[in-house]
């Protein structure tokens, strides 16, 4: 494929992050657990050596996997997440007071990111009303229901993983590897996407594009993908396939 037609296309993850990432930034990082994480960009971010990062990501990776790599190198100062239960190094740093942590309910986190990308200052949600999550936040009672004011979230850089992308930055995700990726793509000053297959414009179904190219400033074809499975769960051949009657 020709890369000369588009200035969005970079040769590899390191060059795609050059001039974009720097110390002290807020980064968004797509993925749910190990599913749909920007593997190549995370490696390049680690190799870039930038430090003191605030990272918005649903999870914090596993030990030595995904964002876990940046925890090992101590490049992350603060995480904004909904669940970080899979990571011993995270736990160690957090308990030692070396790492800041802000928990958001998963849907509130996703909606705050969407709001940030959509130019919405804040929104009222019932989620978290009457819990620790609402502490220090404005609330209002309407028809007996309490709503919490949650604010839009934006980042300096978003690191995104898609399945297919074209040189215009149009992206399509695959199955549940979509998760936070399309929302984060909208909420950063610079969005860098890695894809498994980089194709020419016109190759993707225009009705099926999940992230229009306007949201993607830089794009690479990832060098290789590990695609770790966190919890391989299998059904025995003789088991009744009755989880859902379709």
């Amino acid at each position: 494929m020709s890369v000369a037609t588009s200035s969005k296309v970079f040769a590899d993850a390191s060059s795609a992050l050059r001039g974009v990432v720097q110390d002290g930034q807020t980064l968004m990082c797509g993925g749910f657990g190990a599913c749909g994480i920007p593997e190549n960009l995370i490696d390049a971010l680690r190799d870039s050596g930038v430090r003191n990062l605030t990272v918005v990501s649903n999870n914090a990776g596993l030990d030595g996997v995904g964002l876990g790599k940046l925890l090992q190198t101590r490049q992350i100062r603060k995480m904004i997440s909904s669940y970080v239960g899979e990571n011993k190094e995270f736990e160690r740093q957090y308990l030692a007071g070396e790492l800041e942590l802000e928990f958001n309910p998963q849907g509130t986190l996703a909606e705050r990111i969407r709001a940030g990308g959509a130019g919405i200052y804040g929104f009222y949600t019932k989620v978290g009303a009457g819990t620790l999550v609402a502490e220090g936040k404005e609330t209002r009672i309407v028809d007996g229901e309490t709503y919490v004011l949650e604010k839009g979230l934006v980042a300096d850089v978003a690191l995104i993983k898609a399945w297919k992308g074209d040189t215009e930055g149009n992206l399509i995700y695959r199955k549940t590897a979509r998760n936070f990726n399309p929302n984060m793509a909208t909420a950063a000053r610079v969005t860098v996407a890695e894809v498994e297959q980089l194709v020419e414009p016109g190759s993707l179904d225009p009705d099926g594009i999940h992230t229009p190219g306007i949201f993607v400033q830089r794009i690479i074809q990832g060098a290789s993908y590990t695609k770790l499975i966190e919890k391989l769960t299998l059904r025995k051949r003789e088991e009744r396939a009755n989880a859902v009657v379709a």
Binding site: Y83, G85, G107, R178, P182, L232, R235
Partner: protein, 211 residues
């Protein structure tokens, strides 16, 4: 004889109805999928962005891009659709899911639920639990009636940090089932495990409920 884990899942499955869209939590709630009545159509939502979650894959058919909210490998069905996290929780928060079946650490007599955090222990995070209890039309909780130490878990007030206030519609424990028609009502004991007496439940339950 108190209900087993499998009994609890089977009992919870009786709260399903044909055509329901359902979100199942991690642990015993996941087992509920095995007790859907034959011929009943129930569609499972996974909050990581999937509607129509199928059974676990056969060996060799697992797909790293296809997991449920518990991060387990799953399969797709003909009806399956995928969507973003924001769209997934718009679905949940907007009241489109008929039923959520969740685990708990504590339930209070006013319907408060605590299931995400024990102060002093490492906090893993609430994940999607707060969104689910705030958004899903009906919330059924499945838990042991008492802790391993024998401390009651259906209480006057939750002592642990809350997941949501006044959000539990039905509580199924290994000893009994408590239900209420609306969130303005208080709980009523509606069922006992075989061999369990109302007196035993009363003794092990600080929460106020009717019989």
């Amino acid at each position: 004889m108190p209900w087993s884990r499998e009994d609890l899942a089977a009992r919870a499955a009786r709260e399903l109805a044909d055509g329901f869209y359902v979100n199942l939590g991690i642990g015993i709630p996941t087992l509920v999928a095995n007790y859907i009545a034959p011929g009943m159509k129930v569609v499972l939502q996974s909050q990581n962005g999937m509607l129509g979650t199928g059974p676990f894959p056969y060996e060799g058919e697992e797909d790293a891009d296809l997991i449920n909210a518990g991060k387990q490998t799953v399969t797709a069905l003909p009806m399956t659709s995928y969507f973003s996290s924001a769209d997934s929780f718009a679905m949940i928060r907007g009241g489109h899911i008929d039923l959520a079946i969740l685990g708990a650490m504590e339930v209070a007599e006013n319907g408060d639920l605590a299931n995400w955090m024990i102060p002093g222990k490492m906090v893993k995070g609430m994940g999607g639990a707060m969104d689910l209890v705030a958004g899903v039309k009906r919330v059924v909780v499945v838990m042991d009636h008492t802790s391993k130490e024998g401390d009651p878990k259906f209480k006057t007030r939750c002592e642990l940090p809350l997941t949501g206030t006044n959000v539990v519609d039905m509580l199924i424990t290994d000893l009994a089932v408590f239900s209420r028609p609306t969130r303005k009502n208080s709980f009523k004991l509606v069922e006992l495990a075989p061999g369990v007496t109302a007196e035993e439940v009363r003794r092990k339950t600080p929460a106020k409920y009717s019989e």
